[in-house]
Amino acid sequence: MSNSEETPQLYAAREPVFPRRVKGTFRTLKWVIMALTLGVYYIAPWIRWDRGPNLPDQAILIDLANRRFYFFMIEIWPHEFYFVAGLLIMAGLGLFLITSALGRVWCGYTCPQTVWTDLFVTVERWIEGDRNARIRLWRSKWDLHKWRLRITKWVIWFLIAIATGGAWVFYFTDAPTLLHNLLTGQAHPIAYTTIFVLALTTFIFGGFMREQVCIYMCPWPRIQAAMMDEDTLTVAYRSWRGEPRGKRRKGADVEGLGDCIDCNACVNVCPMGIDIRDGQQLACITCALCIDACDDVMDKIGKPRGLIDYIALSDEPLERAGAKPRNIWKHVFRLRTLIYMGLWSAVGLALVVALFIRPDIDVTVAPVRNPTYVVLSDGSVRNTYDVRLLNKHGTDQPFRFSITSEVPLELALEGDDDLTVTVPADSTMLQRVYVTAAKGSPAASADRTPFRLWVEDLSSSDRAYKDTVFNGKVK
């Protein structure tokens, strides 16, 4: 091992990034997506949905206190949490699909970090001017002018940040009531704390951390490398067309130079502060703003667009050899993405089917295993079952119990003379149930006797059942 004389710098200060304004196809697409995602985020909790009396009228509501999740006409109970698991699986598969087909489009267009940073940069540009003005301001002394601009920017950022944290809490309780309480200072401290913490993280992440969140904090860029292959479309520089790069000066010899005029437009617009011409790199979120910037320059110098473009790696040898690249859809629809699409659709279909065959009443049976049976004074054998009844109707419903089995068994309810109980509206109820086999009867002396426990909703005639077993006394 040898050491050089110079001590290397293992840590470095952040180099500030001042993305320049850009216009073009992808910038427009980003504006649309920003409007859509922010719009949905801020407006969704305010949509109303009438569910009748005693139930919340908020279309999207995560009611933690009452353990319910409302999404328009859908109501999810805790025991149906598999819907949430299913949605998470779909989100995961969806990301696999999108990433393997189009690379890091999630990062470039829809990730909250990207969207809010984009919004914060827009505000910054509006207050402090475009790239050059911002660099000048950054270099200038802290005089009154600079303080005024900076404080104005920070205040607007913080207002956006508070609105961001504020919108979050509306998903968890009735939004109009909470807003009123928040403004009058009567809301729960947890609401204020949540808003404050989220506002602070939004302010710091969007205003100051920016690209560092993606580079140093986010695990997703690392995972994505495993999902991309040579057919994945990513933002890339056609070096075989652009190189050798060189500025076009008057009278200079442009013979032998590539299309890249080394104007640095792609570098100046990049929110990550990188140079796409260095090739695919970890810091690139594929926001495609460099494509817009470069296309603009190519138009001006009368060269074809697409020096920087969405390109699949497998097309590079073709293009270098002067052949035409393959059709873009052949890259998107290939075995890998088709398998992801198939899996994604299968999970989605299963969830939709599960959603529509959900019953309005349900019963779960937990046989008491401690002890498995009790011998009564007349020698008969009794089993106990903890039965949980579920009534999703908005009204109290009478439920009647019955059993079907191949051998005689007798049914009784704890604390109830007949076999009917009333389950309160929109709730579950625990009822202890006894099943008895007479002395010497087949079930009393058999090890396990299967039977079926039925509950019938007397007012709607809905029926539900569970199969369970009776444990006999075996000598």
Binding site: S4, Y11, A12, I135, L376, Y434
Partner: protein, 287 residues
Amino acid sequence: MTKAPKKQKKEVKTTGHSWDGIEELNNPLPRWWLWTFYGCIVFALVYMAAYPAIPLLKEATPGFLGWSTRQDVAKDIKKFDDANKALEEKLVATDLTQVSEDAELYHYATSAGAAVFRTWCIQCHGSGGQGAKGFPNLLDDDWLWGGDVETIYTTVTHGIRSSADDDTRTGEMPAWADVLEPDETKSVIEYVLKLSGQDADQQLAEAGAIVFEDNCAACHGDDGTGDRDLGAPNLTDAIWLYGGDRATITETVTKGRHGVMPNWNARLNDADIRSVTLYVHQLGGGE
């Protein structure tokens, strides 16, 4: 055009380390990362001083905030005790037979009773209340002293043959080996087996019927159905506290039985006793 802040040089530098010609690249970490790391170390040191941290022989260093999990538990217990106070007082003031009319109170009583049962009763009666040899099964419909709430309440409060309580339930199965002749014992056992519908020697049982009438009927009744005032078990049913086979009955008759249940008024307050009474009553055997 204004010059942009100086960009880092294009080529990635090495740290200068080289092993067999393999060089280590240097991609410098952001400096704030370093300060965050130092910040965490400082936080850890402060945390160690503030909270119990370093295990010593007897206990850990206490920390200057004086915090302990035990205090937290005590606080939590007090919080719940305070929250339940009103219900507890109501439970003590309400007639036991009327508690089930009040859904909230009944729910509280049976839930609290379950906790009391798990703490104090399962050692003998089993975690499911199924009992064991010599310790009654509380799930069945057979009761030595009675199975309505009032009777269970008395049993739990004063216990059975508990020497510490003058109001305890008394009544004892004597050791008949001192009183009966061996052949009398043998015949009365056959009679008891016959009473409960088991296989028995008919001749001996006939002789045993007379022995039973002279010696056992005083407590167990002429027909052997027992007497709850004395805690004498019903001998005609399918349930046996110690066992209904010939060998166990022989042991019971010759050596006697006198199981003990503590008087719980010495350890539990009235609300707890009421709670556990209602819990036991709704296990499946309550009358």
